[in-house]
Amino acid sequence: MAIAPSIDMLREPAPSVAEERNLETVEMTINMGPQHPSTHGVFRMVLTLEGERVKNVQSHIGYLHRGAEKLGESGDLEGYRKAMITLDRTDYLSSLLNEHAYVMAVEKLAGISVPERAEYIRVILGEITRINSHCMFYGAFGADSGATTPFMYAFALREEIQQLFEAVGGARMFPNYYRAGGLREDVPHDFVRRVQTIIDRALYAFDDFDNLITTNEIFLSRTRGLGIIDQTRALDLGVSGPLLRATGLPYDVRRSEPYSIYDRFAFDVPVGTTGDCYERYLIRQEEMRQSVRIIDQALKDLPGGPTMGNAPKALRPPKGEAYVRIENSRGDFGVYLVSDGKSSAPYRVKYRSPCFVNLQSLNDMVIGTYIADAVVALGSIDIVLGEVDR
């Protein structure tokens, strides 16, 4: 059993009727996933049930392991660009945010400066990616709690965002658009207008999201008080992102350790009080609005000029290492690069995946609840299996 004994002591469920009357019961082991509509991909949970109650949960990962990091180290012709291709496909919902972290790591390693315009466009596209990812969370979380419509509402907005990505980078989900030293090419001429349209519509869409389920009584009763993780436990587990902020700690890398040009924008870091599933949901809702705020400011200040600095096409950084962390839509995402100073590809690539770390809190959330709660709690972690398994 991969379960720490302390968790069982923490979450001892109330005695059931069967236990009170000393009736003989049989525990049932049920396998949820890797093919299950609400395990968000190919995650597998083996639940030990007593009736509807979850007594124990064992998680199995690795069904989507593709060796993304190792593949990134063997870039022959692509060099440092190759890791980004596989990186896009790890967390396929926040690909541009992760690309940002990767190019920043390469720039730190090789000492390359980035033009102003490229920085602004990176921030704008990164925040749009955050909205895109949180939309997906909204749809999936709604589906987990049994509402079918949020998915469609979220995808209506996602569709427009992905069309923008296609116009900018040529692909809807894996743009592979950033380069060390700037961007692959400048944005289309109507970029500002298109982004403006998207954020205008997004604000209406967020109100629709709220009206649909945020104050719905059934939704509240399903998510409030569920899957509580207190601040100490969250820090012990290394949890980050909305899960950590829901416990009341305003830790956001964009604010705690400003990277790129995030120190120029005014935005709030929403925090919760109890750390339950509902607050994680609310925090993501609020983060989408804060992202719109950032985009709005960045669009106003967007300078002209080049989008690519004087970086060489074939990079051969000096011997050394670099670690860069950013706030992606799931938490603290880190890229660690090592260069041996000789080859044109990174010697070592390592990603610190927030999904993988956040997933460790599953047992704390699920044990002692109902099956239906297990699904909602898993949904509130908002995992992307591509990034958990890498």
């Binding site: 049932m28 049920i30 299950h36 509509p37 609400s38 049930l49 009736g51 509807e52 709604g142 589906a143 987990d144 709690s145 049994g146 509402a147 079918t148 419509t149 998915f151 469609m152 509402y153 209506a156 649909l212 389920i213 945020t214 719905n216 059934i218 939704f219 009763s221 399903r222 820090l235 700690l249 305003p250 830790y251 956001d252 890398v253 604010r255 705690s256 350790e257 709030d268 870091v269 929403p270 925090v271 919760g272 009080t273 109890t274 509902y278 607050e279 609310l282 925090i283 609020e286 670690y323 962390r325 603290d332 109902y370 099956i371 239906a372 709660d373 699904v375």
Partner: protein, 412 residues
């Protein structure tokens, strides 16, 4: 009593123009006219279910910023026949772990009770037939509670015989749900029976034309009945038995092809059935608007009643479908709480209020309704106050002191 009950099983009002051979009892006491009526009813149910599925997909589409089926036939209206054809041609799998006898039998045991309940529905005036009921039955109200309850057996058989743990969980949920919601439903029906002083559905409809629709005289009863039947047929937000995001379809997981189609058919037929029952019991059956008979406009209802009955039924069907697409699903304990702590007391309140109306007259009844509303308002206010302060407001304030990575002891 036994003799009386037996005699009720024969046709009450045989239209005089019918030739003798049509109404002469044949095998098992059924006449040729009965058999024809059964076939017509079955065809009606099957066709209405197809229309209903199309409606549901259209409702879903328009709720979800889509347009629903569009391509097969005008506005996708032939989508359901196409789906039925697809189901018929699909392979009918029986899993190795399934019970070979019970597994194929279960779908029929789910559909047949629903179909049988249609027999007692008073459809309204029909040319040549008068007030058309396939089986006028003085114990109609008891019958319509007893027969659909058999559905549970079919669902348990389906869940148990599939040899799948998800099915088993689903069928356990079905049993718990059916038992819990039968009770408030019956309590709500007591009020209806007291108002009409009869258990015959036709008499109940006719009594509503004299004293006003039951939905106005006992709104609580209507609410309880409507919600309880929604739960009985496992429709969202009470669909824990089939909960797709948890137990991926419950008792139906292992079914495929037309056997699965039978479950689907039963579900949609139940929606139609319960809307029809709500219409007959609470919405004045085939009357055009409340009090139309008192105003001398009763002839409109008497001529075209079937249309009005169907119209009200379809409105209720759309409401049920609408609820499915906007509400999240309740959890099993919340579902039980809702039945035992809300619907059942509300049903009793309705029962007492109806008794006051029947014994003491309208004024004490109105006072009772007022008191109930006041009590409900107080309870609601208490509940709202007990909910913790709004989290939304709390999280929008951004604290100035933001920890850095060093402060948290994270690696830099």
């Amino acid at each position: 009593m036994t003799n009386n009950a037996a005699s009720e099983l024969t046709l009450q009002a045989v239209p005089s123009w019918m030739p003798a051979f049509l109404v002469a009892p044949m095998i098992g006491g059924l006449s040729l006219a009965d058999l024809i009526a059964l076939v017509v009813l079955l065809l009606f149910v099957l066709n209405f279910v197809m229309i209903e599925i199309w409606m549901e997909r259209k409702v879903a589409g328009h709720v979800q910023l889509r347009r629903g089926p569009l391509h097969v036939g005008p506005h996708g209206s032939l989508q359901s026949p196409a789906d039925v054809l697809k189901l018929l041609t699909k392979e009918d799998l029986t899993p190795v772990a399934a019970d070979p006898i019970v597994f194929p039998m279960a779908p029929y045991l789910v559909f047949v009770p629903v179909f049988l309940t249609f027999l007692v529905i008073p459809w309204g005036p029909l040319v040549l037939f008068g007030n058309f009921v396939i089986r006028p039955f003085d114990l109609g109200l008891v019958y319509m509670v007893a027969i659909p309850a058999m559905q549970g057996i079919g669902l348990v058989m389906a869940g148990w015989s599939s040899g799948n743990k998800y099915s088993l969980l689903g069928s356990a949920r079905v049993v718990a749900q059916l038992i819990s919601y039968e009770l408030p439903m019956v309590i709500a029906l007591l009020g209806v029976a007291m108002m009409a002083e009869s258990l015959n559905l036709t008499t109940i409809v006719e009594s509503q034309m004299k004293q006003g629709w039951n939905v106005f005289l006992q709104p609580i009863g209507f609410l309880v009945f409507f919600l309880a039947t929604m739960s009985e047929m496992s429709r969202a937000p009470f669909d824990i038995a089939v909960a797709e995001s948890e137990i991926v379809g419950g008792p139906f997981v292992e079914y495929s092809g037309m056997r699965w189609g039978m479950f689907y058919l039963a579900e949609f037929a139940a929606v139609c059935l319960n809307s029809a029952l709500s219409t007959a019991l609470f919405l004045g059956g085939w009357e055009l608007f409340p009090g139309s008979h008192a105003l001398g406009l009763g002839w409109i209802s008497d001529q075209f009643g079937l249309l009005f009955f169907m119209g009200k039924m379809i409105v209720l069907v759309v409401i049920i479908q609408w609820a499915r697409f906007v509400l999240p699903r309740l959890r099993i304990d919340q579902l039980m709480d809702f039945a035992w702590k809300f619907l059942l007391p509300a049903g009793f309140v309705n029962f007492i209020l109806t008794a006051i109306l029947q014994v003491f007259g309208f004024v004490p009844f109105a006072i009772g309704i007022g008191l109930t509303l006041a009590l409900a308002a107080v309870l609601l206010a208490t509940y709202q106050a007990r909910r913790s302060p709004s989290t939304v407001a709390l999280i929008r304030t951004a604290p100035e002191a933001v920890p850095t990575s060093q402060g948290l002891g994270l690696p830099v």
